[in-house]
């Protein structure tokens, strides 16, 4: 098994080499073989493992005018979910002859394309290229078609694909005065027209002589650079990094002019203040007038854009992106007193904003920032990246990313295109922050390699304009999804497979969870994400393992018992995982009878380990998701555990068992990960169940852990509702199978550590057998080489997954951040929430590897170190008190909140499993929920008004201000709602208005509020509607279901409520003010 796993890992390690491989093959074999390989060989994934590097590296040095475009280009068609797909365009787009380069080799047998003399291009395109017999090459050859026109084209119409190139170009550019040879193309759509010869040559390879005169005409046009329209002091840039290595012989004139322009340093900066009050915008340099009449903009968005260049495709906006940035940010900062302000934390007590804290906006040009990734998806702890590791070390702040890559998005552009444009060297996906050197080449923003723009990319399916590669959706959206062609598959996309493993020992039946789960599953069976291929299966276990045969034709499910748990085997090869749609009745039948089947069971043992092995064996051919429901410590078979919790020793933070006691679950999880199986664990246990060991099964297989402490259907009814709601979300949420996520960053930065649930397969590659929209990840970064001359850096995460519909998709997020050189700027851009989130992740690692007290010390030291570094290096005047930069004003508060969080608090009142579960959550929750669990929000709810309320779908949702977490903010006349993420408390004061008690709580008086009230009655009053709308709005935003506890002074839960009052003192922890004093003492030492 081990070797199998290794083999698999090695194979899938090449996942991203897919395209490279095809290219390599392409050179060697020519398009026909290429397409064949697409259709057949690619699928089995075998045999690429070792050959890839050789092929690829062999291919690189040849450096050929290859157009990956030779692949299929299938815009439109039935698959398209996208808004962007070119459905219905109907027209067959004319392809410039560049594509023909790759067509031509058909006549030759091997890697000729490189050697084709350009003259051949300008020669008549032989319609002999229609020697493609279209029918013979399925989708792979449907290249060239932009419309829905089906792939199988009669040979006669083949000409359509490439031959209608209207304009005879050479003269046009001259007459129009345009500097861009390519834009001068005019594409007339004349289907059925006679094939025209095309004398145009790709500028990328051999600049036609016609262009040269233009080049010389260019420079004179430059001097009259106009001031930016937005106004602002023109800045003279002291130095400008060259736009690109002028090594390539491409359109010389263009490149030169661009470089010259930069060299002259005529850059205009515009300062704009954005909402955070600390953003500085910079305009792009205006473009030489020569550009401005290059061609018609075409895209409607163009006119509205405040960019200074009105030119069409020519302006190459991105080179400007960074060039003027450093100077801009330097001078811009001086205009921003707010961001630079330092705060004496000891004096200013009310620093908590009353609205949810927003992520800081990176200090980038407004236009770039507009394109930047949503901070909810991709966030960096330092929005100003320090230039060197030394600077980062000096700042004493962690550098890292927080990701929520698979978040449910309401608007996600999906691109269906056979050629996914990526950097040839580092495989970065094309993104809004690349720079277009000219129309035919783009420079990767991660490795700075210059790449060719493939032919398809010249056409913009959104605006239906040719020749504007920088207007393509890929270059306009930082978050985008690609439909991946077959190169991205190691095997055919797997069907969605769901396996449920239920604990049915006596203890489990006692809790009554099976009824709830079966019922929820029954209700949501049709909502399981999937298609006609969806498979489902069930296993139950106590001290034996029970399989259920759901064979078609059976009148009722057949139970097969395997009692040999030492050497688990699958009793029958088929019918244990069955098609959901074809066998729905049998499955429903099973789910109905399941809860009653074991009611008389007296078996108390639990053979979880063997059951998981069986589940793994069942799933390994396909991959999929295993959902395990466990209610006690596994006691027999492999993976059995012993109780390690000693309640008396909870206090001593030293001896608690945070590390797994066996590596069985971890090894099994790694095997699962290798077979694309993820295990989700639902732990519904009253006693200690050693989550530290059990949790490994989910942690390394990219699953998730759910923990319902002391679940019981009668004694703990709120948990039942919670389980029901969360299970519903779990069953119906989106899911991605056989996923891998790679995080790339600009050369010079490197990834240090990953946090989350996955297996790290390489230094930048995460293996995620399943990916779900509720999982967050964190990445620690380090600055390996100094980022000199880089005004900005970019990060890109690419998640390749199989959707439940069986499509292979890639979701790409790209974020761009400025680089700064001074400590002050680093502090200015600190994102306190992201820092806290990353520190929490690091602290979990630390408490596992060292000890809890170590982790706590490290957290406190993080605050002390950063604040004392700020004090000593940034503040020129030593003031008394505890000074903190404005951006970090909440840092001590958040760290104190972390120290008081269940994962890191000391004291006896927390169970080991609960602590470990919280740690799992720290690792796996997206940042917003992690912050909510760490630092709850407190609202006053007895006087909700519609003032400033949100209106969503005709519902009015009041937005009360957030209060500080201190009892001093509570008043006896009020009612307060504390939203702590997974739980909510509504505290009702003794003298709370009668109005609230009766109108919202529906009870006559304060005294009659029940002890354990967990629901608000729906009353016909405005107050009740408002409160309920507010609470349900809060609940809707998150994937889990927070229980609402309504408490009053005598309630037993009051202590939990007060626990969350972070600014107050508790028996074992400091109050906020004391904490600040402690820090001040250390800082001033």
């Amino acid at each position: 098994m081990a070797s199998r796993y290794a083999c698999h890992a090695a194979l899938s390690g090449n996942f991203f080499l897919g395209t490279a491989l095809t290219l390599g093959r392409f050179f060697l074999l020519g398009p026909v073989q290429n397409s064949l390989m697409h259709s057949s060989q690619m699928l089995d994934g075998q045999g690429f493992g070792s050959t890839v590097p050789g092929l690829y590296s062999h291919q690189i040095p040849t450096k050929v005018p290859v157009h990956p475009s030779s692949g299929q280009y299938n815009f439109g068609g039935s698959q398209n979910v996208s808004l962007l797909s070119n459905q219905g365009s109907g027209q067959t787009l004319n392809r410039p002859p560049a594509g023909l380069i790759s067509m031509a080799p058909l006549q030759h047998t091997s890697s000729v394309p490189q050697m084709l003399p350009p003259s051949q291009n300008s020669a008549a395109i032989p319609s002999s290229s229609s020697s493609f017999v279209p029918g013979a090459y399925p989708p792979a050859l449907s290249n060239w078609q932009y419309g829905q026109t089906p792939m199988s084209q009669p040979t006669g119409s083949q000409t359509n694909h490439f031959a209608h190139v209207a304009g005879t170009l050479p003269t046009q550019p001259l007459s129009s005065g345009s500097t861009n040879p390519a834009t001068s193309y005019q594409y007339t759509v004349s289907p059925g027209g006679p094939p025209l010869q095309n004398s145009y040559m790709k500028p990328g390879f051999v600049p036609p002589p016609v262009n040269r005169p233009l080049a010389s005409a260019f420079p004179p046009a430059r001097p009259p650079l106009g001031p930016p329209q937005a106004g602002g002091p023109p800045l003279v840039r002291p130095s400008a990094p060259p736009v690109g290595p002028p090594n390539s012989s491409l359109p010389q004139p263009l490149l030169n002019s661009a470089a010259n322009q930069e060299g002259k340093g005529l850059i205009n900066s515009v300062y704009l203040n954005l909402k955070m009050g600390r953003n500085v915008g910079y305009s792009y340099p205006t473009l030489p007038p020569g550009y401005q009449n290059a061609s018609s903009p075409g895209a409607p968005g163009m006119q509205s854009s405040p960019l200074q260049y009105q030119a069409g495709p020519q302006p190459f906006p991105q080179p400007a992106l960074g060039t003027n940035h450093i100077t801009g940010s330097m001078s811009g900062l001086s205009l921003q007193p707010e961001g630079l302000r330092s705060i004496n934390l000891l004096q200013e007590r009310n620093i908590l904003p009353t609205t949810p804290l927003q992520a800081p906006v990176p200090n980038l040009h407004e236009e770039i920032q507009k394109l930047n990734c949503n901070p909810e998806l991709f966030r960096c702890t330092l929005t100003n990246i320090p230039q060197t590791q030394a600077l980062l070390n000096k700042a004493k702040l962690p550098l890292g990313l927080l990701l929520h890559p698979f978040k449910d998005l309401s608007q996600l552009p999906v691109v269906t295109s056979s050629t996914i444009v990526r950097c040839r060297s580092c495989r970065t996906y094309i993104n809004p922050f690349v720079s277009f050197l000219d129309q035919r080449r783009w420079k990767c923003n991660l490795c700075y390699r210059v790449n060719d723009v493939p032919e398809e990319f010249m056409y913009n399916p959104v605006t239906r304009v040719y020749g504007e590669p920088h207007k393509r959706p890929e270059v306009q959206n930082a978050t985008i999804e690609f439909m991946a062609p077959s190169e991205y598959m190691l095997r055919p996309p797997q069907p969605p497979v769901y396996l449920f493993v239920f604990d049915v020992s006596h203890n489990a039946i006692e809790t009554g969870y099976l009824t709830t789960v079966s019922k929820t599953l029954l209700d949501n069976l049709d909502l399981l994400p999937g298609n006609t291929r969806t498979k489902i299966g069930f296993i139950t276990f106590d001290s034996t393992i029970h399989f259920y045969s759901l064979q078609e034709g059976l009148s009722q499910p057949q139970m097969l018992i395997v009692s040999d748990i030492e050497d688990v085997f699958i009793p029958m090869p088929e019918n244990l995982l069955v098609n959901l749609n074809e066998n729905k009745e049998l499955i429903q039948d099973l789910l109905r009878t399941l809860p009653q089947m074991f009611t008389k069971s007296l078996e108390t043992q639990s053979a979880l380990g063997p059951a998981l092995q069986a589940a793994f064996k069942l799933m390994s051919p396909t991959g999929g998701r295993i959902s395990v429901f466990q209610t006690q410590l596994p006691s027999v078979g492999v993976g059995s555990l012993k109780s390690r919790e000693e309640p008396n020793q909870r206090a001593s933070a030293k001896d608690i068992h945070l590390t797994p006691s066996t590596d069985f679950y971890k090894k099994l999880a790694l095997d699962c990960s290798g077979q694309q199986v993820a295990v989700d664990l639902f732990l519904l246990s009253g006693q200690y169940s050693d989550l530290a060991s059990l949790g490994c099964i989910s942690r390394y297989s990219a699953g998730s852990v759910y923990y319902y402490q002391s679940y019981h259907h009668q004694h703990n009814p709120v948990q039942v509702e919670k389980l029901q709601k969360e299970l519903k979300r779990y069953l119906t949420r989106k899911i991605g199978f056989e996923a891998v996520m790679r995080i790339r960053c600009t050369k010079g930065l490197s990834i240090h550590t990953f946090h989350g649930n996955f297996f790290v397969r390489s230094t930048d590659l995460l293996s995620l057998p399943n990916v779900n929209p509720d999982a967050g990840y964190a990445v620690q970064m380090s600055v390996e080489e100094s980022l000199t001359d880089m005004p900005v850096v970019s990060f890109q995460s690419a998640l390749l997954y199989t959707s439940s519909k069986g499509e292979r998709r890639i979701r790409v997020h790209t974020m761009c951040l400025p680089v700064v050189t001074t400590l002050n700027d680093v502090y200015l851009g600190a994102d306190v929430q992201a820092i806290t989130g990353l520190l929490a992740n690091m602290a979990v690692d630390r408490s596992v590897s060292a000890s809890l007290s170590d982790a706590r010390d490290a957290l406190v030291n993080a605050v002390i170190d950063s604040l004392s570094a700020y004090r000593s290096s940034v503040l020129s005047i030593q003031q008394p008190g505890l000074m903190a930069p404005y951006s970090l004003r909440l840092f001590p508060l958040h760290v104190l909140a972390l120290l008081k969080q269940k994962a890191f608090q000391t004291g006896t009142n927390i169970r080991l499993d609960e602590r470990i579960f919280t740690m799992c959550q720290v690792k796996n929750q997206p940042l917003i929920f992690l912050m909510l669990m760490t630092h709850p929000n407190l609202y006053r709810v007895d006087n909700l008004t519609d003032e400033g309320a949100l209106n969503i779908n005709d519902r009015t949702i009041p937005q009360p201000p957030i209060l500080q977490l201190s009892v001093e903010k509570l008043s006896r006349d009020g009612a307060y709602l504390m939203d702590a993420g997974s739980v909510m408390f509504m505290w009702v004061g003794k003298n709370c208005g009668q109005n609230f008690v009766s109108q919202v709580l529906g009870v006559p008086s304060y005294v009659s509020i029940p002890q354990n009230m967990t629901h608000l009655p729906e009353l016909e009053t405005a107050e009740s509607t408002r409160t309920i709308a507010f609470i349900s709005w809060l609940r809707e935003q998150r994937p889990f279901f927070p229980i609402l506890h309504i408490i009053r002074d005598e309630s037993p839960l009051k202590s939990s409520f007060l626990q969350n009052m972070i600014e107050d003192r508790t028996e074992s922890a400091l109050s906020y003010y004391e904490f600040l004093l402690h820090i001040q003492q250390q800082v001033n030492k």
């Binding site: 490279a20 890839v52 590097p53 930048d764």
Partner: protein
């Protein structure tokens, strides 16, 4: 003395092997990542780490075996020189992550930059130590040959 001679000869071969292994396994992959195609390098790097994982235990065993041989030959000085490394190996093995099988590195954490860097540093240090001791043994062997 002939016993010593055989032993040194054996040592010579073994250390050559170990040296070679270490050189290939712990070659700094980051240096190579600046070449044309980092993707391929990364794949190579993973493979290298995997091979390295398999070779660590044999290395420990060989070293322990030599120490025993030195003990038999009553080479107290050599033994003393090797003791720290032996102790380090034992400590390393004792404090390995929880594992049911043999092996020292946890596949789930090896890609962590800190651990990877530590392992690389460890590899280089050991390589230096082995090289030095190799020459010392060579010297010892020749000395014995000449003097006998």
């Amino acid at each position: 003395n002939i016993f010593k001679f055989v032993q040194f000869k054996f040592l010579l071969c073994s250390y050559l092997i170990t040296f070679d292994e270490l050189k290939t396994d712990y070659k700094n992959p980051i240096d190579q990542c600046n070449t044309l195609n980092p993707t391929v390098e990364k794949v190579k790097k993973i493979k290298r780490v995997k091979i390295a994982l398999k070779l660590v235990l044999p290395e420990y065993l060989i070293h322990a075996f030599f120490c025993v041989m030195f003990l038999c030959a009553a080479e107290w000085l050599t033994l003393g020189l090797n003791m720290p490394l032996l102790a380090y190996h034992i400590w390393r093995y004792m404090s390995r992550p929880v594992m049911s099988g043999p092996g020292l590195y946890d596949p789930t954490t090896i890609m962590n930059a800190d651990i990877l860097a530590y392992c690389q540093k460890e590899g280089w240090c050991k390589l230096a130590f082995y090289l030095l001791s190799f020459f010392y043994y060579l010297y010892g062997m020749i000395y014995v040959l000449v003097s006998s």
